[in-house]
Amino acid sequence: MRGLLALGCIALLSGCASSNATRDPSDPWEGVNRPFYNFNDAIDRNFFTPIAKGYVKVTPQPVRSGVTKFFDNVSYLNVIANDLLQGKLGDFASDTGRFVVNSTVGVGGLFDPATGLGMPAHDEDLGQTIGKWGAGEGRYMVLPLMGPNSLRDLPNIGSAMALNPLTYLNPVVTIPLGAINAINARANLLEASNIRDQAALDPYTFVREAYRQQREFKIYDGNPPTDDIDDYIDQDEAESAADDAAVLKVY
């Protein structure tokens, strides 16, 4: 099975190796990324999307909301660790309290009493921490089955796994739970993928740019610097690379 999968990848890769699409200098691995994107997309359309739609049909909204909260909570130690790594001591205290309250009073994370108690959810991960420390995005990459990523965000896969208690349970438990998580997570993205399907001229580029910008936004916790909001507007004609950079930084 795994061998077949790998063979499929290679076939896709060689199939596209000769394509002479105009390359974006900011995405030097596009030649590999694009086939992986297409591969993921095919699996998504033929497998995950139909299952996710079926799941939405048969489960009531409160159940799905509980499932989402459970998996958010069980992966929350990664958020707490990265609060600390970024020196956000206030968030660290509040997020630790949140995890304790939701794991206990919130019945193993199925409910979220912590938000009402003044401990709102935060969104942190190792990629954001590395970004906060000043590292650039690194190369953009599309991972088979996992989707968009970058050199900067790659280490988070490891930290998220290491800090998730489910990792240390018996596979008899973790495999079905992992499957539920994947389906539920895909169901939560149905609206987003609809927007992509409607709006994108080139879905690969669309997803790449959306991924990059959203990561940047998250590094700044939703408040990117606004010093250069007026940079591009004063110019009558767009001409320079500097102008390009200004626009892409506009928030």
Partner: protein, 209 residues
């Protein structure tokens, strides 16, 4: 704006002059909304469109939103930014064709995405003005309490504030389109891009009525 003007009593001429000035100010204020007012005008229209979605129908929603977009968005600047370095080489009529198509696509997209109402609330959070640019931060709060951040960059041209970019949850519409459009123009040219955008508009119209 509606406060009574302090009128000097003795001279009728000065009296009239002040009154005249007040009228001028009032007119100026009416003619040129500030950045927040422009964004809220758009949000007001979107809200109406969402609430009356069924009775308006898709075409009705396009008709409702299109003229408001014309007044609240600076499509000329958007067209320039979104086509990047290619804009310079376009003839005037190509520019106009592109800008018109782009405006049409925006209306079709809004009509398609705001097609129902489930208790959403638009809230303006802050306004930041820097010379001729402004950033207005807002959010849509859904009925389940989840908020999506919606930030607007505005540009002041000819004394009018108009929107040039919408950043939804950190994703800049302008930057996204610039990447996609740049690739299409470089590979297939501006006419192919306009054709693709027109095809998008048609597919929106076909998908729902």
């Amino acid at each position: 704006m509606n406060q009574p003007c302090p009128l000097p009593r003795p001279r009728v001429g000065a009296h009239l002059l002040t009154l005249f000035c007040c009228c001028l100010f009032a007119r100026a204020a009416l003619a040129a909304d500030g950045p927040t007012a422009v964004v809220e005008k758009l949000h007001g229209t979107l809200l109406t469109m969402m609430k009356d979605a069924a009775t308006l129908g898709r075409e009705g929603r396009v008709q409702t939103v299109a003229p408001v977009l014309e007044r609240t968005f600076d499509f000329q600047t958007i067209g320039r930014v979104v086509t990047g370095r290619h804009w310079k080489g376009f003839a005037a009529d190509t520019r106009e064709r592109f800008v018109t198509t782009f405006a049409g696509l925006s209306a079709a997209t809004y009509a398609d995405n705001f097609d129902g109402y489930a208790g959403e609330i638009f809230t303006t959070l802050s306004e930041e003005v820097k010379k001729n640019a402004a950033l207005v931060k807002t959010q849509i709060v859904k009925s389940d309490g989840k908020a999506v951040s919606l930030n607007y960059v505005l540009n002041q041209r000819d004394g009018k504030w108009r929107i040039v970019n919408v950043i939804a949850d950190g994703v800049s519409d302008l930057a996204l389109k610039r990447s996609e459009y740049g690739a299409v123009i470089a590979k297939e040219g501006i006419d192919a891009l306009i054709a693709k955008l027109n095809a998008k508009i048609a597919s929106y119209a076909a998908a729902r009525t």
